[in-house]
Amino acid sequence: MKHERPQSFNTVPMKERLTIPRQAMPEQDATVRSTNFLEVNLGLTPEQAVIEAQRCIECKNPTCMEGCPVSIKIPDFIQLICNQDFIGAAQKIKEDNSLPAICGRVCPQETQCEEVCVMGRRFEPVAIGRLERFVADYAMQHGNGSLESFEKPASTGQKVAIVGSGPAGLAVASDLIKEGHEVTVFEALHEFGGVLVYGIPEFRLPKEILRQEVATLEAKGVKFVKNFIVGRTMTIQELMAEEGFDAVFLGLGAGLPRFMNIPGENLNGVYSANEFLTRSNLMRGYDFPEWDTPLYRAKHAIIVGGGNTAMDAVRTAKRLGADEATIVYRRSEEEMPARNEEIHHAKEEGVKFMNLVNPIEFISNEQGSVVAAKCLRMELGEPDDSGRRRPIPMEGSEFIMDVDMVVIAVGNGSNPLIAQTTPEIQTNKWGNIVADEDGRTSMEGVFAGGDIVSGGATVILAMGAGRKSAIAMNEYLKTKVRNSA
């Protein structure tokens, strides 16, 4: 990737940069935070941010941008931090990423930009994610709510409906409002943000950040409509034919929880991760009885799975007061898809890990509540397509453990509502919407992107898909005007 070298503001001699240690993220103490829902990571101080930025060795051929799915101009924004121009650095990121405060918190930088940072070949990589978060937060605290200088463009008179207010939908809204289109975001739930709100706990992503991002878009003219289920309240056909929307973007995400299909998954006390986290995150179950959403306080909660959702659920269970909260995972820790940071934080907070174990049945008492899990021990076999060693059940290794709450976090599928109500839109055998690389679906004027197309992925990939679709939608709308003239 060709990238013009940014102006250097880094006054630290090159050799000295190698000796600067990577700046540690200030955190809440583990014993304190395991009883509250406040954010765990506190963010770098301005002094730390400048020191961290000074670690960048200003490569002639920077590889960090190649690791970023939306190609943020990483060397440029790091140089602006060296110059203590934090607002400028935030604006630089915003050229490519409309949600930096969110991505700075939840992106897996260690497998993206930081994985390919040249410093990382011998030393620790530059903490790009921490820097991104720092400048985004700084700009939010010191700016006027909008990181960009936004001049309202002349109206095109064309209407765009965005279905879903998750990362893909927000990215599309952010890009298309700049083009002068009338943009409306429809959200099925009573808060905006999609998976960022219902799926990610407050201690990892404070809701206030999302509210500010939504408020910024509203200030730019984007309309937000909540409690509106496209496919039920109104179909896509009705939005286009009766409400006059010229184009529609579908960013519904992958919100359909998957279960294991083992006996006892319908017992009281067995939750999908989606339900459990939604009760806590979106409906403020952790504030019961101030908020009217009860959540069971477990003696022993087990969470089945090894991804970030499983870590969010187990740390939530711990914070809700579970005496014991355990991850039950069928492979070993080495194969866990969760971020290392999340696993590390969970351990610090007292979460237990039971690896190479898989439940095969949940057992109930007479009231139909779960009281035990029958499990099998696993051993690792040959690597599978993902390169991770496959877990194989060890026959005769069954054992039973007492549990009074189970959360299933084995993945999510796509919501079938759109496929059921809009047969014109082609779906694949997994129920995902079929779209080309610019997001065009089989229905004229309807685009789609994010998890509803790709299956469960990361926030930044969903945003990247949204941005590609926004370009294609803008072209489509321009052509529509030309053809009707």
Binding site: N261, L376, D385
Partner: protein, 154 residues
Amino acid sequence: MNLKDQISLMGMDDIMEMCINQEQQAIDLYSLARDQARDESSRQKFQELVDMETAHKVALRNFELENFIELPPADLKVTDYLMEPVLKDNMTTQEIIILAAKREDKTARMYQDLADHFNFDKNLNTFFQMMADEELRHKHSLETEYENEFLQEG
């Protein structure tokens, strides 16, 4: 007369025909399920299974040893402990794969049982062992798909 007694009276052509008929039963079942499925995604998955079983039937019809001689991959046992879904018109793709994998498993066990029973007849023993292995290969393929799609551990 039970199946084993029947087989002991059959010639090799009839035994082969019986195995082909086993595949045809699966084709008929999945075709019916495809026609009754409510969702396009389920119809697609059932059609894939029809295609897969048809390919198996053709392979049996043109029984060429080199296609059957390889030992099967390790049994992943991914679906062994899962509940067997009931065939219905609103099955999810997840349920369809479990159903199909369990059918392959049952058929593999049936052939393995026959192989064990006919251990005194080298030809029959080898034939049924290869058939059992073939069914295990199909099960492996379905379970790999199941793992990749439904056990992402997100």
